[in-house]
Symmetry: C2
Subunit: 126 residues, 2 copies
């Protein structure tokens, strides 16, 4: 199956809205909760010391970022995690994996040579 992936080094126009939706500790905690199972608005709001209208504003930001979708059944609105947006963000970040692994390897090397400054100068078989 061909899944939607961003073009290399060309940010998808949806990415800023997705990252904005994730730029808040309450919203991150909601995403973590929804990764376990769908939940109603009141269940999701319970752990937070926050008025329901304020909490629902956070849910609105998550919906606009397409991080979650919701449906209403009677008086209960149930939210679930949507698969696309988090995957898009992960795919964009994955493009920089080579960069940060190279940087971390350089730090490793620096730490090793700083801790053992003579290592590079000592012959292997004196």
């Amino acid at each position: 199956m061909v899944r939607h992936m961003p073009q290399r080094n060309q940010a998808d126009p949806a990415l800023p809205t997705i990252f904005h939706a994730l730029a808040d500790p309450t919203r991150l905690a909601v995403v973590e909760r929804l990764s376990i199972s769908p939940a109603s608005a009141s269940e999701l709001a319970k752990p937070f010391a926050m008025a329901l209208p304020s909490f629902m504003q956070h849910m609105g930001v998550l919906e606009r970022g397409a991080i979650v979708t919701s449906h209403k059944s009677g008086r209960v609105r149930t939210y679930q995690l949507a698969p696309g947006a988090l995957q898009l963000a992960a795919a964009w970040l994955a493009e920089f994996r080579n960069h940060w692994e190279r940087k971390l390897d350089q730090l490793d090397h620096l730490l090793i040579t700083t801790t053992n400054p003579k290592e590079d100068h000592e012959p292997l078989h004196p």
Copy 2:
């Protein structure tokens, strides 16, 4: 080497600031440019139709999110991508990989059974 990884399903307190730094198309484009090589503020600002002070505000947000670091040599400030923050964001998103792969597989299955509604009912060897 043991690298810093967030505890499973426990968002690192730095994550909202990191995601906020990525919640803007100019800042995303700067990250993409810096993944190629370090660059001066004026080089980085060149592609954007924006006054330098406005552009420097974006660079400030990227520095506060620890996405970039900078050093000044004479009158030139040079920026480079920092390895830690993007890696932290990627590690947090990777926790949801199982979730979205399961969801996308469900969508695949739904598409297949909608396109070929009789598939499940036809015997393999009629």
